[in-house]
Amino acid sequence: MSLKRVLLTAAAIVGLAAGPALADSTGITKTSIKIGNTNPYSGPASAYSAIGKTITAYMNMLNRQGGINGRTIDFISLDDGYSPPRTVQQARKLVEQEKVAFLFQTLGTPTNSAIHKYMNQKKVPHLFVATGASKWGKPKDFPWTMGFQPTYDVEGEIYAKYVLENVKDPKIAILFQNDDYGKDYRDGFLKGLGDKKNLVVSMLPYEVTDPTVDSQILAMKDSGANVFFNITIPKFAAQAIRKSCEIGWKPLHLLNNVSSSVGSVLKPAGLECSKDIITAQYQKDPTDPQWKSTAGYKEWAAFMDAELPDADRSDINYAYGYNASKLLHHTLENCKDMTRAGIMGCAANIQGLQLPMVLPGITVNTSPTDFYPIQAEQLSKFDGAKWVLFGNIIDASK
């Protein structure tokens, strides 16, 4: 065979292989688009189900308004109970049986880890996942998976710097969930401490299947720590706050952003007990009165009035769900190439988008090499009734 013929044959084979992949528009018709989601409507992380409910409500609202560019949204949100094997089953059901165009906002680090490889093998977009682990922004190895919120390791670093600058003679205790979520936060924090890692006097894990974290809190108090970095999901965060309050342990309490909801964490833990807790935020906390007059807040409040009138508005997860829905809405609305690959391309081409309930000045930016949409945060302190921002916005992308 001549070289030319070999090349031609090779080109034809590549063309054949690439052809159907490029035109893969499963789940998308001229009048509809099918989107899948998994959320913990049951189980230890069920506080996050507010996010799934918000997205569902948003999609219903869009459909009543005629959908996106004439396409109605068929949004299928299934319960995975925050259990990885269940997520595998539900993701397979969505992709293979329901034949969704893509998965959106699947929630949880361990759960998304379980389908990370599967989604990329199937070449189905795994968009704006509801977790901040750093592994979602690796377009080279996982071109079909994209994150959403600021990464946990960066947030951990922010806390470490704050401790070094503001606490005299710190002795640090770290409680973390024993998986990639907890370890991302922990490792970011340790990185931020630099050569002062010996300041950590107690570092204890918990399992998501544990009933409580009481024993860890007792051990941490006994370690004599005066700084407590609380890396837990809402159920355990509320337990940790309440327990440390009950036993009279009053360290500088750093609470990871994913449990900063007043409605689903601080209220159940007790507002008085939650006073002076510090977190990092990138969203407008609904309890902070300064946002009430902004257009973004009003838009969200109008949505909540119309679609979820009974919801507890002090739960920031409703704002989170709204932000994520808005981001998807923007992505699809401005997307010309409505195929799986096309949507992935559109998601990786967003500049300077200000979401309604994200802090002013923090915008969504993505590119084919940048799969981290939101990358800036600001510290905030709880005054017993609401979160109060302080300091400057810290942007990890700069």
Partner: protein
């Protein structure tokens, strides 16, 4: 002494028919359904092990999730770290879990009924924790578990899921036939004699210790093979996949299918997967219907009330009534 040959033509014919129907179903099933049935068969294999142990030998285990997990992890580790062909790992998973079961059978000898149930319960509860131990993390992948690829199709033109279904189905059929032969052999009669009256059995010259430990080993081995197929079907293992609930569901599947039967294992596995699935869909139909677990629970209670010997028992009774 001449016994009538228990392998009747009718029996062989129905077995062959079952196997053929199973293979034929593959052509109409979607990939997702094939995956679901593969999972059901994986549970079914483990339930078969439980039936032999509990139904025929009278030893209780609510710890079979431990052997199920062991089989799954052996397969996962050999694929991930040694690069073995997925199907080549199955005999190893079987051997490892047989040894585990055999060894566990020794302390089990001293424990009867409830006490044995408690000991196996401890095994089931400890398993996820052991899999998370830091020292083993390099091999087990810790909390996050291990991810690997599904086995390639056994012949071209078959999808990955259909191929795995076919292999699982054939292995399941072979194991069913094997279990049937075991239970209809001299050893099988010894196994059942131990269940019915251990003292009489030992007076008859049956080596209780040997039979009980070997039965435990065989049962654990079947659970291990089931676990290995479960791992292949999901191409993912993690400690919390194999929590205590798996052990309970296996027992539920066993009882629902028919604990003193071999085909009951197949029905139990199917019930395990599809019972939950339909309970969920049923609950989603309307706001008035209780949540899935309540529906599932009610279904179970009704089952126990109307068909105490499981689905297979009910079929047998119905058949007997028809023939009368």
């Amino acid at each position: 002494m001449n016994r009538p040959n228990p392998i009747t033509k009718k029996l062989v014919a129905s077995f062959v028919l079952l196997v053929v129907v199973g293979i034929a179903l593959m052509f109409v099933a979607s990939e997702y359904t094939a995956y679901q049935v593969t999972t059901a068969l994986a549970y079914g294999i483990a339930i078969l092990g439980l039936n032999i142990l509990t139904g025929y030998n009278g030893q209780f285990s609510i710890g079979h999730s431990a052997f199920f997990a062991a089989g799954a992890y052996v397969t996962a580790i050999l694929i991930t770290f040694a690069g073995w062909h997925p199907y080549a790992t199955l005999p190893v998973a079987a051997a490892v879990t047989f040894c585990m079961g055999f060894l566990f059978g020794f302390p089990a000898l001293r424990l009867e009924g409830l006490y044995l149930a408690l000991a196996t319960f401890a095994l089931a509860v400890a398993t996820p924790q052991i899999l998370k131990v830091d020292a083993l993390e390099h091999w087990t992948g810790g909390v996050q578990g291990l991810f690997f690829d599904k086995p390639d199709p056994i012949f071209a033109g078959l999808s990955v899921d259909h191929s795995l279904y076919l292999v699982t189905w054939i292995v399941f059929a072979v194991l069913m036939a094997g279990a049937w032969m075991l239970l209809h052999s001299r050893s099988g009669r010894a196994i059942m004699a131990i269940r019915d009256n251990p003292i009489a059995a030992s007076t008859m010259g049956i080596n209780l210790a040997l039979y009980k430990t070997t039965t435990f080993g065989v049962s654990a081995m079947l659970a291990g093979i089931g676990g290995a197929f479960f791992a292949l079907a999901n191409s993912f293992v993690s400690p919390d996949t194999f929590n205590f609930f798996i052990a309970v569901y296996l027992l539920v599947g066993s009882v629902v299918g028919g604990i003193i039967s071999i085909p009951g294992a197949l029905l139990g596995g199917l019930f395990y997967v599809f019972g939950q699935e339909y309970a969920e869909e049923f609950s989603n139909l309307s706001e008035v219907i209780p949540p899935p677990w309540v529906t599932f629970g009610i279904l179970l209670i009704l089952m126990m009330y109307f068909a105490p010997f499981g689905i297979w028992g009910a079929i047998g009774r119905g058949w007997a009534r028809l023939k009368r």
